[in-house]
């Protein structure tokens, strides 16, 4: 019986995450079904979730309206894996220092939205990520950075000494967009390694 992975699809870079998850599943030889979630009632059926980038104000608003927000909190409380990227990191955080975003508080971190500036400051660069042998080509788009992390948060990568990839329990969150390149190692690290560990346990 294949596992089910949900991609939160209310707004943002959804199809690229679906494709990245499918590539990662092929790479590890695991059979999964990927579902796009735009309303309540589907998250509880999922073994893992991706929370894509997009606009955090729009995403947080729609998650609340559709009643998906509480389902994601329950998913994390049950210890099931989540990969949150860019706006996903902002929405998942404890505090985004902005009352326009209702954060889920599933990652014990305070986030600085658009910390790198405007779109003309967006960039791509090689990045060392904990748990990966070789650097990861990271694409930062109007990206947030992590300002403060709680005691149980593991910092996986930093840029200019500030965290840009973190792990808090079952959640891996990145400032950058691992779904925009063909390299699926972050998706494997965040979603497939835990799923395989739980399957063999």
């Amino acid at each position: 019986m294949g596992r089910k992975i949900g991609v939160i699809a209310v707004q943002g870079n959804v199809s690229e995450h679906v494709a990245a998850i499918e590539r990662a599943a092929d790479a590890v030889g695991m059979s999964v079904s990927v579902v796009e979630i735009r309303e309540a009632g589907h998250v509880p059926d999922c073994d893992a979730l991706a929370l894509p980038g997009g606009e955090s104000t729009t995403i947080s608003r729609l998650l609340g309206m559709e009643g998906i927000d509480a389902e994601i909190v329950d998913h994390v409380a049950a210890g099931k894996p989540v990969l949150a990227t860019c706006a996903g990191l902002i929405v998942a955080s404890r505090d985004a220092r902005d009352d326009r975003v209702d954060t889920l508080g599933v990652v014990d971190a305070v986030v600085d939205r658009n910390a790198f500036g405007r779109q003309v400051d967006s960039f791509e660069a090689g990045l060392d990520v904990g748990g990966l042998d070789d650097p990861f080509h990271a694409v930062f788009i109007r990206a947030p950075v992590v300002d403060e992390v709680g005691p149980d948060v593991e910092v996986l990568a930093t840029w200019e000494d500030r965290p840009v990839a973190i792990r808090d329990g079952p959640v891996v969150a990145t400032s950058f967009h691992p779904e925009l390149t063909d390299d699926n190692r972050i998706h494997r690290l965040a979603l497939f390694d835990p799923l395989r560990a739980s399957a063999s346990a």
């Binding site: 699809a9 943002g12 860019c86 779109q119 960039f123 791509e124 788009i141």
Partner: protein
């Protein structure tokens, strides 16, 4: 951080510019003329706002030359909202685009809604760090714009009319041509590209992907939640709304409803609730009744 990392850092690449456009998918980008409207748009759930001097419906009424708005308006809007802010430059007006980029616009719309500055050429968008969106009525036009460096394509529709008819026509033309290309042999695509004045490598790439290689939004005449849902039904990645929000009786209700309609475009039950009691839409002008010389879509092909 190591020296190597610094050397590797690259801005304004195709990946970064097209990536920005991808983050807008499933969203609604709203035209605004000042910070107050931008605030309302962000509160409605817009993914970005487009700063311009007057909404297209007012530009039509006013007549005269339509130019880039005073950059002060862009600055005021940038200070007001946290979502991306886009600005409109005239077709072929490289300097307006440079000014918008220097002022911090997150994307430049090289737009037929403004009076074209160049009858023969569009801006060479490849050299810019800021990403561009351009309008198109059909696939060859879209591929020419992508070849010039556009990171996002939107239908031209017929701006400022509140009539969705032309946006549908243009989106159908783009999708239909992609299906046609998909069914062609290599040499047939080569011929298609030659005959239609389309860049051949992009024609092959589009056929292989089964879609445009950049994000494809709808624009031009979208005035209601049902219009927005219709364009999603036709395979658009997201929606631009110009005069439709602030030309409506209740902009807050209309804006919020259009955002929700885009998320629920394939759920008739929810759509029916969303479309109920949002107040009157903009008055508009039917495309069929419009004299050919008043149409904006023929500008910059």
């Amino acid at each position: 951080m190591t020296e190597t990392d610094l050397e590797e850092l690259r801005r304004g690449t195709d990946l970064v510019k097209r990536g920005f456009a991808r983050m807008q998918k499933g969203g609604v980008i709203m035209d605004v003329v000042n910070a107050k409207q931008a605030r309302i748009a962000e509160d409605c759930g817009a993914v970005a706002v487009m700063s311009l001097e007057a909404v297209p419906a007012d530009i039509r009424k006013r007549g005269g030359v339509a130019r880039m708005a005073d950059p002060a308006a862009l600055t005021e809007i940038l200070d007001e909202v946290s979502i991306p802010v886009m600005g409109k430059a005239r077709i072929g007006h490289t300097k307006e685009a440079e000014i918008l980029q220097a002022k911090g616009a997150d994307m430049v719309d090289e737009s037929e809604v403004l009076t074209p500055a160049d009858d023969d050429y569009h801006i060479d968008k490849r050299d810019f760090t800021a990403p561009f969106v351009c309008g198109a009525r059909n696939l060859p036009e879209a591929l020419r714009r992508i070849d010039e460096g556009a990171a996002m394509i939107r239908t031209k529709g017929e701006a400022g009319t509140g009539d969705v008819n032309q946006a549908v026509t243009h989106q159908r033309a783009i999708k239909g041509a992609i299906r046609e290309l998909d069914g062609m042999a290599y040499e047939e695509r080569e011929r298609w590209a030659r005959e239609h004045g389309a860049p051949r490598d992009l024609a092959h790439e589009t056929a292989e992907m089964g879609r445009l290689p950049v994000v494809n939004f709808a624009a031009g005449g979208i005035a209601t939640p049902a219009d927005a849902a219709l364009m999603m039904h036709h395979g658009c990645d997201g929606i631009f709304v110009g005069s439709g929000i602030f030309g409506a009786e209740n902009p807050e209700a209309m804006g919020t409803a259009i955002v929700e309609a885009v998320n629920n475009w394939d759920d008739p039950e929810r759509l029916s609730e969303i479309a109920t009691n949002v107040g009157k839409g903009m008055k508009g002008q039917s495309n069929a009744d419009m004299p050919e010389e008043e149409k904006l879509q023929g500008r910059g092909v």
